[in-house]
């Protein structure tokens, strides 16, 4: 019988506060992957779009494979890890499931961490599949595995944080956030030396490019694949880490500030 002689809930002690919340963040991450990421439209978008991008650039702009491989990998990381993150919080606000999460013993920081982890893991998974396909066709040669691994890990984390940062307006309408997301993400593609090397961009855009994390992702990928790059690998890594910290802190600050406006 429930409560008496039945199964008693064993709850962990005070000492494990951080670890307990981290475990809860992992549960939120698992929930996000099940509900939002492992859906056919998201999967199709994630796996098909890099190949269309590749074909579009090859036939449309006569760009070489050499130049395009890091670009396609960079764009894939960028669009995949930040694809669903922006709509999770508005969608959960609308469905009132955010209210459920907030009433549970987990802080908002860890709820957001769970959402970020989901985008990160999904992005890493998709990037690895694309990487393996490229390697399978022998069109990709790795020059520096260390930089490549860190580029994939840190860039996915960075853009996943960006996705959560984009969802700060306290709306329950995901389409509003998707518009904002496109407004932020597409200009970044054009100012980040994706279509042409940063040093060939107009002066003003070259300055803007320094403030885009995508610039450093693509440059780091070029470095790891032994292609021409501008910044040293370690410098790009450092800048991406700084962006992760900034995006994460801003996301927490603004989501906390806006939380009560969501209910």
């Amino acid at each position: 019988m429930f409560f008496f002689g039945g199964v008693k809930a064993k709850i962990m002690g005070k000492n494990n506060l951080f670890l307990t919340q981290l475990r809860s963040a992992c549960s939120i991450c698992k929930k996000d992957i099940l509900i939002y990421y492992l859906k056919s439209p998201v999967l199709i978008f994630s796996f098909v779009s890099p190949f269309f991008l590749l074909l579009a650039f090859i036939f449309g702009r006569n760009l070489s494979f050499d130049f395009l491989l890091p670009v396609v990998l960079g764009l894939s990381i960028f669009f995949t890890s930040s694809s669903v993150g922006p709509i999770i919080i508005p969608w959960e606000t609308r469905m009132r499931t955010l209210e459920k999460l907030v009433s549970c013993p987990i802080s908002l920081e860890f709820i957001l961490l769970g959402d970020i982890l989901a985008g990160f893991l999904y992005g890493v998974g998709v990037t690895l599949v694309i990487l393996m396909v490229f390697m399978g066709f022998s069109i990709l040669v790795i020059d520096n595995l260390f930089f490549l691994i860190l580029a994939i890990i840190l860039s996915n984390l960075c853009f996943s944080c960006l996705g959560i940062l984009i969802s700060i307006p306290p709306t329950d309408n995901p389409s509003n956030i998707m518009m904002l997301s496109n407004l932020v993400k597409f200009p970044l593609v054009f100012i980040s030396g994706v279509f042409m090397p940063v040093n060939q961009l107009p002066f003003l855009i070259r300055i803007l490019a320094k403030f885009s994390p995508l610039t450093y992702t693509v440059d780091l990928l070029r470095c790891s694949l032994g292609k021409e790059h501008i910044y040293s690998g370690f410098f790009s890594l450092l800048v991406i880490i700084v962006f992760i910290i900034i995006f994460f802190c801003l996301a927490i600050f603004f989501h906390k500030k806006n939380l009560s406006k969501r209910f």
Binding site: A9, R23, S260
Partner: protein, 312 residues
């Protein structure tokens, strides 16, 4: 402090310039079912959201089992289970996965989560459909699942916001029975409801709120006793009354209503009114078919208090 489950002091919440909750104070004892009643927009749901740590108050304090909901949020939230007004289960997850998620958010071990989920799904007659996505569930099933989710961590205090609203009779009865059963085993219940009859039947004490303020807190029985002046006499005559004005002239009447073929007469002097009705029936050559005296029900008390509060 030892026997207090919820302690609320000077709680105030502003939305812009609108005062949603206005310096309210109350406490809920351990093992008590406390009803929180009020008309729409009275501040009930806002209060419940503050008590459950979903939103922050502008001022005042809330403690759950002696733990401050703002400063000791993590530990205070572990003492509570929440069933909100609108079903907020994850519709793309199965009932099982919903329970697993909540269990892990409350820090239950995997073995415990599985055992607890099985127990609760069986208790609420959902076990057969545990692997179905909850988007296929009826409202009653979702509500039962919500209750199961709220009970995963064996909370000391259970918050329920309109738990039976819009449900079929069977689901209502099951949920009420379970709530009473949990309460019998020392779980404190904070019940926010519009359903006055439900509150009357289930609650040990009720608070009636209006415009963000608590108008009154007492047991349903005491409230009804205090409003004895609202006694009602229901009378049915053998034929239609020709001279209704004569009826209205009787002494001791505060209000008169015709409900179907009966007259519902409100009075503060039952004895006087019964005599008047008998005299009236003699005068008008009427036969009294039935005559009942009714004590005020909680709904009438509620309406009276809300009215008084509005005008006062």
């Amino acid at each position: 402090m030892g026997d207090i489950a919820i302690q609320v002091s000077n709680l105030t919440k502003l939305y812009g310039k609108t005062l949603a909750v206005d310096r309210i104070n109350f406490e809920v004892k351990k093992g008590e079912i406390f009803g929180f009643l009020g008309p729409n927009g009275a501040g009930k749901t806002t209060t419940q959201r503050i008590l459950t740590g979903i939103i922050k108050a502008n001022s005042g304090t809330v403690s759950i089992m002696g733990l401050n909901i703002e400063t000791e949020s993590f530990y205070a939230k572990r003492q509570i289970g929440v069933v909100p007004e609108i079903a907020n289960v994850y519709i793309d997850l199965s009932a099982w996965n919903n329970l697993m998620l909540i269990g892990s958010l409350y820090g239950l071990s995997k073995k415990n989560r599985i055992a607890k989920a099985e127990e609760l799904l069986k208790l609420f007659n959902l076990y057969e459909r545990k692997d179905e996505k909850t988007k296929t569930f009826s409202k009653g099933m979702k509500q039962r699942l919500l209750l199961a989710m709220a009970l995963m961590s064996e909370p000391k205090v259970l918050f329920l916001d309109e738990p039976t609203s819009g449900l079929d009779v069977q689901s209502c009865r099951l949920i009420r029975e379970k709530i009473l059963e949990f309460n019998r085993h020392d779980m404190s219940i904070f019940l926010t409801t519009h359903n006055i009859t439900e509150a009357d039947q289930m609650c040990n004490r009720v608070a009636i709120v209006n415009h963000g303020k608590i108008a009154v807190i007492d047991t349903p029985e005491k409230l009804k006793k205090e409003f004895q002046f609202m006694q009602v006499i229901e009378v049915l005559f053998n034929k239609e009354i020709q001279n209704k004005r004569e009826l209205e002239k009787m002494r001791g009447i505060s209000k008169i209503q015709k409900v179907n073929d009966k007259f519902k007469i409100y009075t503060d002097d039952t004895d006087c009114l019964i005599r008047e009705i008998i005299n009236f029936s003699h005068r008008e050559k009427l036969k009294i078919i039935s005559l009942n005296t009714l004590a005020p029900n909680l709904e009438e008390v509620f309406l009276k208090i809300v009215e008084e509060h509005k005008s006062g």
